[in-house]
Subunit: 196 residues, 4 copies
DNA sequence: TATGAATGAGGATTCATTCAT
DNA sequence: TATGAATGAATCCTCATTCAT
C-alpha cells in the first residue's frame, strides 16, 4: 500500500471517526461520510469494505495505542500510586489524539461487541481492566490505598470518570489533559472534603 | 383517558424504553418495539404519534421526577455535605425505577437536543446543574470542601460518575443503590488514599 | 330504516361529500370524515360498508336527480333553443344542491369508472350526453344552430364549461345560478364579438 | 449535470407525468412510477428528492413555457381579437407537448397550492389571468367585444373550456390543435346560433 | 480512484377495515 | 350506535452496497 493511499485512508477514517463520535455509528450514513470527504458514497468502497470495517479500523488503532501506553506505564513504574497517576495521566492525554475513537468506544462498544466481528472489544477491555485492577490491588495490599473500598467498584468509578470526560474535554481548550488529570487525581486520592 | 388506556401506554413505554436503552434510539426499530409488545408495528401508532414522541414521553417523565427529588432534597437540607450526600443517594436510587430513562438520557441527549422538539433537554440539564453547583459552592465557601478544586470540574466528575454507573448498576443485584452511593461518597469525600 | 337513521346517513354523506370534493376521494381519509363528524373512524362502518360505498351513494343520488331533471326538461320542451336554455339552466341550478357531488363526478369519475362497481358512471354519462346531442342535432337540422360546427365538439365545449364552473361557483355568492346560466347562454348563442 | 443524466431525468419525469395525469398525484404510487420506468422504487430517489419534487419540476417546466408563449403573443399583437385568437391557439397547441402537465395542473393545483412549496402555482395562475383579462378588457373598451358581458365571467368560461379540453384532446387524433382552436373561436366569437 | 445509476432490504408511518366491548 | 384496540397491507423514503464506465 502506497504512502499516499495510506494517507487517504487515514484522512477518511478521521472524517468518519468524527461523525461516528458526533452522531453515533448507526445514525451516521455512509453518504454523510462521503459528503464530508467531498466524494460520492460509492467511492468510499474503494478504500473500505464496509461501514463496519471503518469503525473496526478506528477502534483497533486506538486500542492498540492505549494498550501499548498502559504496558509501558506499568513496565516503568512499580510504585502503585505513581502507576495510578501515570495511568490516569496517560488516559487523559490520549484524548488529545484519539478523542473520537474514545467517544465511539464509550458509546458503541456495548452494542458492537454483540457481533462476532467485534468480539475482541471485550477482550481488550478485560486486558485494560487487569492493568487497573493490578495497580489498585497492589496499592491496597501495600497499605497505600484504603482497605475499606471494593476494588472493582473503585475501578469502575475511575474508568467511567476518566473516559466519560471525553464528552466535555476540549483538546483546544485552556485546560490541558495534564491539568485535568492532576485535579482528578487530587479528588480521587484525597477527596473533596477539606483536610481537618 | 381511561385507566386501562393509561396502563397500556405505560406498559408500551416501558418496553420501548428498555429497547432504547439497550440498543440506542436510532438503532431500535418500531417493529422491534411492537414485536416485544406482541402487536403489529402499525398498532403502536394508535397509542403514540411517532417513535420520537415515545422517547419524549419517557425522558420528560424521568426528568420531572428527578427535578422534583432534587428540589425536595435542597428544600430539606441546608448543610452542604448533607445535601451532597442526599443528592448522590437520590440519584443512585433513581436508577432503581428509571434506569432505562437514565441510560437513554446519557446516551442520546446530546444528539436529540439538536432537534427543536428536544430543546428542553438542555434546559432541564442546566437546572439540575444549578442544584449541584449551588451545593458545591456553598460548601467551598463554608470551608467544608477543599478550596483548591475547580467547582465546575468537580461537578462534571460527580455527574459523570454517578450517571455512567447506570451502565453496570443492576437493580436486582446484591449491591443496592444506597450501598453504592455510600462507597462512592467515601471515595468522593475522603479519596482512595489511606489516611496517614 | 328509521327516519333518524336515514338523517344520520345523509348528514354523514354530506360531510364526506364536502371532503371528497375539497381534497379528492383518494386523498380524503376515513379518519378525516369521522373527525369532521365528531365520531371515531371505526364508527363510520356502522353506517357504511366502506369508503367506496360512500362515494357510490353520493354519486348515484346526484346522477339520479340530474337524469330526472334532464328528462323532464326534454319532455316539456320541443323547441331546440328553449331546450338548450333549460338544460343549461337546470345544470347550473343543480350546483346549488349538488355542488360537492358534481365536483366529485368531475374530478374522480374517470378514475372510478375503471372499477366494475362504478361501471354505471359511464352509462349514465352516455345517457346524459344523448340528451344534449339530441337537442343540438335537432337544432342544427332545423337551422337554429350553425351548420358549420361539429356537434360532438360543441357538446364537449358546453359540457365542460358548464360543469367546470363548479370550481368557482359559490351557491352563497351574489351571482345566482340563473344569472350565470343567462350570461353563459349569451356567450354560447351569440358569441362575445359585438354585433355589427 | 451531464446530458445523459438530464435525459434520464426528463424520461422519468415523462413517465411520472403521464401517471400523475391519468391517476392523480396522490393515487399514483412511487412504485408505479418506478415499475413503469423499469427500475426499483428506491432508485427513483437517486434522481429526485421526493414524489413532490417530481410534480414540482413538471409543473414549473410547463408554466414557464406557457408564460413565455403568452408573453410573446402579447408582445407581437396589439389587436384584441388577434391576441385572443393567438392566446387560444397557443393554449391548444401546448396540449401537444404538455398534455400531462396541463392535466395535472387542472386536477391537482387546487390541492397542491395549499402547501407552501406550491404557493407559486397561485402566483403564476394570477399572471396568466392578467394576460387574458388585459385582452378582454381592451377589446371591450375598443368595442370589439360585447359590452354586456362580465369580463371575469367570460375569462373563466374561456379558461375552463380551453384547459378542460385536455381531458379529451388527443394529440395523435385526426383533429389537430389548430382546428379545434378554430372551431372553439367560432363558438366563442360568433356563438352557436345561426346568423339571421 | 472516482462516478453515478441501480439494487434490495428495511425504515417509519398511514390507512381502510374489523371486532370485542 | 359508538368506542378503541388492533390488523395487515401499502406508502414514501433511506441506506449500505455493487458495478459498469
Amino acid at each position: 500500500m502506497g504512502a499516499a493511499r495510506k494517507d487517504r485512508r487515514a484522512e477518511l477514517l478521521g472524517i468518519a471517526g468524527r461523525l461516528f463520535a458526533e452522531r453515533g455509528f448507526v445514525a451516521t450514513t455512509v453518504r454523510e461520510i462521503a459528503d464530508a470527504a467531498g466524494i460520492l458514497s460509492g467511492s468510499l468502497y474503494h478504500h473500505f469494505d464496509s461501514k463496519e470495517s471503518m469503525v473496526d479500523e478506528i477502534l483497533r488503532g486506538f486500542l492498540d495505542r492505549l494498550r501499548a501506553s498502559y504496558e509501558q506505564v506499568l513496565a516503568e513504574r512499580s510504585d502503585p500510586r505513581a502507576a495510578l497517576t501515570a495511568l490516569v495521566t496517560v488516559s487523559f492525554e490520549s484524548m488529545d489524539t484519539d478523542g473520537d475513537a474514545i467517544a465511539i468506544f464509550q458509546n458503541e462498544a456495548a452494542h458492537l461487541a454483540q457481533f462476532e466481528r467485534f468480539g475482541y472489544l471485550a477482550e481488550v477491555a478485560a486486558e485494560l481492566e487487569r492493568c487497573w485492577l493490578g495497580v489498585l490491588e497492589r496499592g491496597q495490599r501495600d497499605g497505600v490505598f484504603r482497605a475499606d473500598l471494593r476494588v472493582p467498584l473503585v475501578y469502575r468509578f475511575i474508568r467511567d470518570t476518566v473516559w466519560v470526560a471525553v464528552r466535555w474535554y476540549d483538546p483546544e481548550g485552556t485546560l490541558g489533559a495534564e491539568e485535568i488529570a492532576a485535579q482528578y487525581l487530587t479528588i480521587l486520592c484525597q477527596g473533596i472534603v477539606a483536610q481537618r
